[in-house]
Amino acid sequence: MVTEKNKINHLLWRAGFGPSVQQVNQLTSTEMTLQALFNDSKKYSPINIIPDEARTREDMMSISKEERKGMRQEARRQVHEISNAWVNLFFEDENALREKMSFFWHGHLACRPQAGYPAQQYANIIRKHALGNFGSLLIEISKSSAMMKYLDVMKNKKDSPNENFARELMELFTLGKGNYSEADVKNAARAFTGWSIIPPDQFSVRIAQHDEGVKEIFGKRADFSGDEVIQMILRNKQTAIYVTTRIYRFYVNESVNEKRVNDLAALFYESDYDIEKLMKEIFYSEWFYDEENIGVKIKSPIELLSGIVRAFKISTDDSRILQFPQKVMGQQLLYPPNVAGWPGGKNWIDGSSLMYRLNLASSLLWGKTYEVSAKSDVEEMMHRESNNNDLKPDADWNQFIEMFVSQPQDKIFESMTSFLMQPARLKIAQATIDSFTTRDTKETYISSLARQLLAMPEYQMC
């Protein structure tokens, strides 16, 4: 039986980054939770860490190698700063739906920005359009300096076309493999020739570099511009099917119900790619709350980290708490492995990443570190980082304990599992788990039980 509580937590995990204590106390029905999620995400405010003045980058050629190296390091530091600022937004109740959607789009329109300002701009475009119109999102991202640099758009010139962007646009962003030909990629690349950025970040088309010849794309012949190619792609229903399938896998279930996805895709297409409308259709449906969809996804590293931070109000003032776990678990915001984003699911899990993940909550809450060191990052020329450091855990245990302490002793286990665990049934019997707890007082029981529950594979699921 799926209880109302299960449904609320399911919704908070999938539409956002897991429940906070405050939400559990306030939200008493799915209806109320849905309203709160959609209302709280109406506002958008940009991340604004790098001031506009910082956009103007000095002419790289006129400065020394040493200065250039310094600038590169500074650029990377700024990307980290944007990454931290963005992850911190995942910990807020406000805007949870919008931020989770941005997180999805970041994996879908994956990009590794090279410097602070482009990173900020990229994140903000995604966040602004996260629940808006997919066409606008796609066009603005395609014309952002971060993406254009990442996919070699500036190298795509009339006499020496570069197909990188045209290919990924079709393969990963819109149509999916098998729904276009190699000739389509080649000719679309010609349509995008001349796309460039006037420093610092103004998109423009350099006519002299644009190939004005006739191109045959998707069976049509004309002197297509880049914008026209994107419009053609959006007019193709396959784009709606592909993007909806990705959304379904991310939000509902890795195993896809085709009939359902086709219905959703039709609605998405007919609404001219209204993302919010699609998400309402999903979250207001009955099937979203079916038992087969609850607690069956492996949390991504950022979801896992966010869930712990939110449930225990852990202070993230020291950004090492954010960066190191992301690195070791293999998901760093603004550092996807490649343009295909993070593969997700079982791909997160190997023996060493799982041991780290099972120990993560314990190290964030009790400071017991499972000693590991992260691979050195070639681009940062950094030495191995180790987590064997002096991080002082800083969690709000009072609010967590208060949530359960007024309940009778024999009810605590059930309400704590319902708050912390998404799978309907635990694989380990309560008696076994209880035998590892301390039962002197309710308080010690609550904290020792939390410790065991958070170390279980069930906690890795959402």
């Binding site: 492995p337 023996g351 590991v372 170390a455």
Partner: protein, 400 residues
């Protein structure tokens, strides 16, 4: 499908540690999986991270263009450790010349791939997943090897990366290798009484995600026990360099000599990203590589295991032919690859030296595809179906 309880497993590995024999259980295990039969075919892959400058590793000391393009970085002819009339090692690699002279080393020149990518991440991704430069794969080539060899009865320690984090290379769709930098630490991490208790839960029948987590936890605990038990069998008395790489190679030698059931080891050394002051960095790293490998080979030879091992090195790219203005080199393309072992068909220099007259925007053109090397190693050394694992047929090189 063969099933062993954790208790049985421990009993057997306990037996092994006292009797120092391969337990019957493991023999059966080898036969049933077909992997590493008798473990006389062990592969060690060494990743040189950051892009090693191949031209200053194997120096074309008779080539004027080399010295013209590298007025400050070019290694003077008299310092080069000559291998033949054209090529010689960086002077930091004296220890490797012994191995080369013994006929236990093959050098492949100009190894790369079409449309090379000069980003570290992307190019490393290409080498680790064995993809083309315009496709992205999510599994590594060794991971896919494990997928192809293992049904249900494989353990994660079939492939070990000496590190705390597992590289993409060792991640398959269904099977992964395991990352272990120190067997005692991994063992300690899995000894948490609560984790041990729940890892003994019986289930894991389905393919569902939660079952997969439990299954991985059980396997990791079992592998951690197994590796830890074996790690006590043989402690090398040989001298290894006191660098991280030296320690890692020592660990690999100890595991091989102790008879552990692992057919692939993966070790990294870096960072070779020498944009500036290359002479301060590269020789130091090359010396670590040479000395580490030399101690490793010695150790194995003393225990009559060198014949069972094939080693190769790679880097995500070589570096630009011309030096830059800060005594460094920028990201390039094709590079050389070293193979070590007793079973080399063509010890010495396998193919033509880099053609410095015929460059692609200042970079070397590749003559051999790195996937030919992978196909050769998979097919000729590991006896696997290279075409299945690499997704297409690559011409096998006549080197093993």
């Amino acid at each position: 499908m063969r099933k062993y309880s954790r208790r049985q497993f421990l009993q057997y590995s306990g037996l092994a540690s006292t009797a120092m024999l391969v337990p019957a259980f493991l023999k059966g295990f080898q036969n049933s999986s077909g992997i590493g039969a008798g473990l006389d075919k062990i592969l060690v892959v060494i990743q040189l991270s950051g892009g090693n400058d191949g031209l200053n590793t194997v120096v074309p000391f008779n080539n004027d263009i080399y010295y013209k393009k590298r007025p400050t970085l070019g290694i003077p002819q008299q310092q080069v450790l000559k291998l033949n009339d054209e090529m010689g090692f960086n002077p930091a690699m004296a220890k490797l010349r012994d191995i080369f002279n013994n006929g236990e080393m093959t050098i492949l020149n100009n190894v790369g791939y079409p449309n090379p990518d000069r980003s570290h991440f992307r190019s490393m991704n290409i080498w680790q997943t064995a993809s083309g430069s315009s496709e992205t794969l999510t599994t590594g080539w060794i991971g896919r090897y494990l997928d192809s060899q293992c049904k249900d009865d494989c353990f994660a320690h079939m492939a070990i990366e000496v590190d705390d984090m597992l590289s993409q290379t060792l991640k398959g769709a269904h099977r992964n290798g395991i990352a272990v930098s120190r067997p005692d630490l991994l063992y300690k991490a899995t000894q948490n009484p609560f984790l041990k208790r729940i890892a003994s839960a019986e289930n894991m029948a389905s393919d569902a995600n939660l079952d997969y987590l439990y299954k991985t936890m059980v396997e990791t605990t079992a592998s951690a026990d197994y590796i830890y038990e074996y790690s006590k069998i043989y402690t090398s008395k040989n001298e290894y360099p006191t660098t991280e790489f030296g320690r890692h190679m020592k660990r690999v030698a100890e595991m091989i000599i102790s008879g552990i059931n692992t057919c692939i080891y993966y070790v990294s050394l870096g960072s070779f990203d020498t944009h500036s002051n290359q002479p301060n960095t590269q020789p130091r790293l090359l010396q670590q590589l040479a000395e580490g490998l030399h101690s490793f080979a010695d150790d194995l030879k003393q225990n009559d295991r060198f014949k069972d091992v094939l080693v190769f090195t790679f880097s995500e790219f070589g570096r630009r032919v011309s030096e830059n203005a800060s005594r460094g080199t920028d990201h390039g393309t094709a590079n050389n690859i070293f193979l070590f072992g007793k079973n080399l068909k063509h010890p010495g220099i396998f193919n033509e030296t880099p053609d410095l007259n015929d460059l692609d925007e200042g970079d070397l053109k590749h003559r051999l595809d790195f996937r030919q090397l992978y196909a050769t190693v998979l097919n000729k050394w590991l006896g696997a179906n290279d075409e299945l694992i690499l997704g297409k047929k690559f011409e096998i090189l006549d080197i093993i």
